[in-house]
């Protein structure tokens, strides 16, 4: 059987780089889309012998396959090519003393037909497959350590730490012949194959490689990005990567959208503008002062173009840029969210109407477009979200500054003595004001940190969460109180209890608010800009304050519930008596059943003992 000429070319690209440490590139590669042959070789050996070995092997493999392809079956062809290269490198190393010991790794891929390829490898250059978003290794390194693991002499953990983990057990050139591992692979639409030297996977994480391979970018971009990734990871070795994308037997959904979908969308741009106009785009405050046609061109046509280009290239960058420009400009002019939301809704609605119309004409294309356009709307929302979050961060910072300034103007003389009077009232023991707690007063610096923390926490509180806001204010008062006793907590608890008395909803909202305040402050304390020791002290003070407030509140609730405890005890007694009576009745019933069952006539049709169906 001869090896056929490869069917439809895969999309493929290769890139190589000397790295940041080496002075010569000892890696070589073959990227021959016409013959369907792709090879990465990583040379080794001193005195520039590494690059000679890899280049020699490269040339021999390419020539062997070119001349024998029509006469040999695929496995024998690829194996023969690698053996010929091994022989050539070995002979050269024997012939020149300074090249003694040179060799090279090899990972090769030969396309068999539209859906099959053959992978061969010797050494530690690797082949990876990206399928369904997941990256898997197709080859197993031929290193001494790996072989010891295979034989059960080393554990995988020990192998990772082994000093000889990079020493190869096989290569091209150490002997006149070598053993080649081969695997045949059935390709699926969307599969991506990566061939690379250890200069890539040794300096880049598998996750990052998976991310780049799955990015959807063209193979030449991906190959370039992978090299860049290895360089950023240190670039301690020569690095080579070949990326192949499997040819697809039928146009995929993505291809349909890129071609027919993009065209169908663009052909309906006037309809899109018309619908946007009907839905009131020219009346939106964002385009106030513009003529209706100007407004439509500026906003709707721009979005239409952005979607068209994104459909064509399967990206979201144009819609992202459109949304960011539109919203960024509007916010800079002091515009409000409602107008922007209104504008986005009009555009979203117009988009859906146009896509629905395409769907009635061509169900499959319309469906694919529907998904693509929904994605575009998500991308637009992501861009808006980024802007909103950034604005929120800025306002937070300004709020902290303003709040700090405002606190300085508070007139401390205006505080009344209500709290003191309350504390003098007799109450249950552990609530009494004289109960000393261990926390000392706080320094000005810590006090400032507490204020900032509470300001951020307040800013993060929902507008309707009045109770949480009050809890936060109480926490601030308790945490910054220098008197080191329980009085501030008792006053605060009483105030809170006044807001939320025992009503139909019970006291749980109060305890929920206490808990929410704890979560908010714990998060906020990490957002203030202070030295770590100050942050720790502030956190401790707030935490102590929270404990005191919860204790005081619990005490108040217990105090309020005290009159009901006797009635509760009575109710428990009644329940207990009833339970005893029920138990006695059960016992009597069991006794009666037992006595009746012993008198049953076994000859009667109702059958066996204990059967109650009669």
């Amino acid at each position: 059987m001869k090896t056929p000429v490869p069917a439809p070319p895969v999309r493929v690209a290769g890139a190589t780089n000397v790295g940041k440490v080496r002075t010569t590139n000892e890696d070589s590669m073959i990227v021959d889309a016409q013959r369907g042959l792709f090879v990465v070789l990583d040379g080794m050996g001193g005195a520039n012998a590494g690059d000679i070995a890899s280049q020699m092997a490269r040339d021999v493999i390419a020539e062997f396959i070119m001349h024998r392809r029509s006469t040999m079956p695929p496995r024998a062809l690829l194996d023969g090519a690698i053996q010929a290269a091994t022989q050539a490198v070995f002979s050269a190393s024997q012939a020149h003393r300074e090249r003694h010991g040179m060799g090279t790794t090899c990972v090769a891929c030969m396309i068999l037909d539209a859906t099959h390829m053959l992978i061969a490898h010797v050494g530690d250059s690797r082949a990876y497959l990206l399928r369904g978003g997941r990256l898997q290794t197709l080859t197993r390194d031929h290193t001494i350590v790996e072989e010891l693991v295979d034989r059960g002499l080393l554990s995988p953990d020990e192998a990772d730490r082994h000093p000889y983990k990079n020493v190869l057990s096989r290569n091209l050139g150490a002997r006149p012949e070598t053993r080649v591992d081969m695997v045949e692979l059935e390709l699926k639409p969307g599969d991506r194959l990566l061939l690379c030297s250890d200069g890539l996977y040794g300096y880049a994480s598998a996750e990052a490689m998976q991310y780049l391979l799955g990015s959807g970018d063209a193979p030449d971009h991906v190959a370039r990005d992978l090299i860049e990734l290895a360089l950023r990871g240190g670039g301690g070795d020569n690095v080579t990567a070949i990326v192949l994308e499997a040819s697809q037997p039928a146009p995929s959904g993505t291809q349909l959208v890129r071609t027919n979908g993009a065209i169908a969308w663009w052909q309906r741009r006037q309809r899109f503008l018309h619908v946007a106009k009907e839905r009131g785009l020219p009346k939106n405050p964002m385009v106030r002062g513009l003529e209706p046609n100007e407004a439509l061109e500026l906003v709707a046509l721009n979005l239409c173009q952005a979607i068209f280009h994104d459909l064509e290239k399967s990206t979201g960058v144009n819609v992202w840029t459109f949304a960011q420009t539109l919203a960024g400009g509007w916010f800079e002019r002091g515009g409000d969210w409602a107008a922007l939301r209104g504008m986005m809704d009009i555009l979203g609605e117009a988009t859906r109407i146009v896509v629905d119309e395409i769907r009635t004409l061509d169900a499959q294309l319309g469906f694919l477009l529907d998904i693509a356009v929904s994605r575009a709307l998500v991308v637009a929302e992501l861009a808006l979200g980024g802007l909103l979050a950034e604005r929120l961060r800025q306002v937070d910072g300004e709020l902290i500054q303003l709040h700090t300034a405002a606190q300085e103007t508070i007139d401390v003389e205006s505080l009344d003595d209500t709290g003191d009077r309350f504390i003098e009232r007799p109450t249950i023991r552990f609530l009494r004001a004289e109960r000393v707690v261990t926390a000392a007063g706080v320094s000005d610096e810590v006090g400032g940190a507490i204020e900032k923390t509470l300001t951020i926490a307040r800013a993060r509180t929902s507008p309707r969460a009045e109770l949480v806001k009050r809890v936060l204010s109480s926490l601030e008062a308790i945490a910054t109180d220098g008197s080191s006793n329980f009085s501030t907590a008792v006053i605060a608890a009483r105030d809170l209890y006044g807001v939320r008395t025992v009503d139909d909803a019970g006291v749980m909202p109060l305890f929920d608010a206490l808990d929410q305040a704890r979560i908010l402050t714990a998060a906020a304390v990490h957002q203030i800009q202070v030295a770590e020791p100050i942050r720790a002290k502030a956190l401790r003070a707030i935490s102590n304050a929270h404990q005191r407030l919860v204790s005081a509140t619990t005490g108040l609730v217990l105090e309020a519930a005290a009159p009901y405890t006797d009635r509760l005890r009575e109710a428990q007694q009644v329940t207990s008596d009833m339970r005893d009576k029920v138990a006695a009745a059960e016992k009597r019933r069991a006794e009666l059943e037992r006595r009746f069952a012993t008198n049953v006539d076994a000859s009667q049709p109702w059958g066996s003992r204990g059967n109650t169906e009669w």
């Binding site: 990052a208 998976q210 939301r341 929904s374 929120l392 306002v395 993060r460 929902s462 979560i519 990490h526």
Partner: protein, 157 residues
């Protein structure tokens, strides 16, 4: 979003474990916020979102959807995650769910419909999250104006 037909809700429930599994496997590459979490926390957070998506598909209740997102944002804010990263995380979860639906859901028609539905749910989630962030921003702007006014008055005195 109107309530959807039971087969789609059932179809989603059938692939939910696979979506969770995929998200746990790929979380480091999907989204930095998810990547930083330990396994148990990631499982809990992603699981909560997937549960909610199931409820939303079954009921189509936008009020509940918004309420869930409000709570989710508040909880993530308490863990010092920015709203933008929460939004990106929710979108990444939605995208992965749609991708798994495209690969795994039963018949070809069910696959298509569920994929589209999940993509629309993601769009609706992103919209609702932005509305919530905008509400919060408006509230803080209000506080800012109030404090700025007080400061001006203080200076006058």
């Amino acid at each position: 979003m109107a309530s959807t037909s039971p087969p789609l809700a059932a179809g989603y429930e059938a692939i939910r474990p696979k979506i969770l599994q995929r998200l746990l496997e790929l979380r480091t590459t999907l989204d930095p916020s998810l990547g930083r979490l330990d396994d148990a926390t990631a499982r809990a957070q992603i699981g909560a979102v997937l549960d909610h998506i199931g409820n939303f598909i079954a009921t189509g209740d936008l009020g509940l959807h918004r309420a869930f997102l409000h709570t989710f944002l508040a909880m993530r804010a308490a863990e010092a995650q920015s709203p933008a990263s929460v939004l990106a995380m929710l979108v990444a979860i939605g995208d992965t769910a749609a991708q798994v639906a495209q690969e795994e859901a039963g018949s070809s028609e069910a696959r298509s419909e569920l994929t589209l539905l999940l993509t629309r749910v993601t769009a609706s989630t992103a919209r609702a999250v932005n509305d919530l962030i905008a509400d919060e921003l408006a509230r803080r702007m209000g506080q800012w104006n109030e404090l700025a006014k007080k400061e001006r008055e203080g200076k006058k005195r």
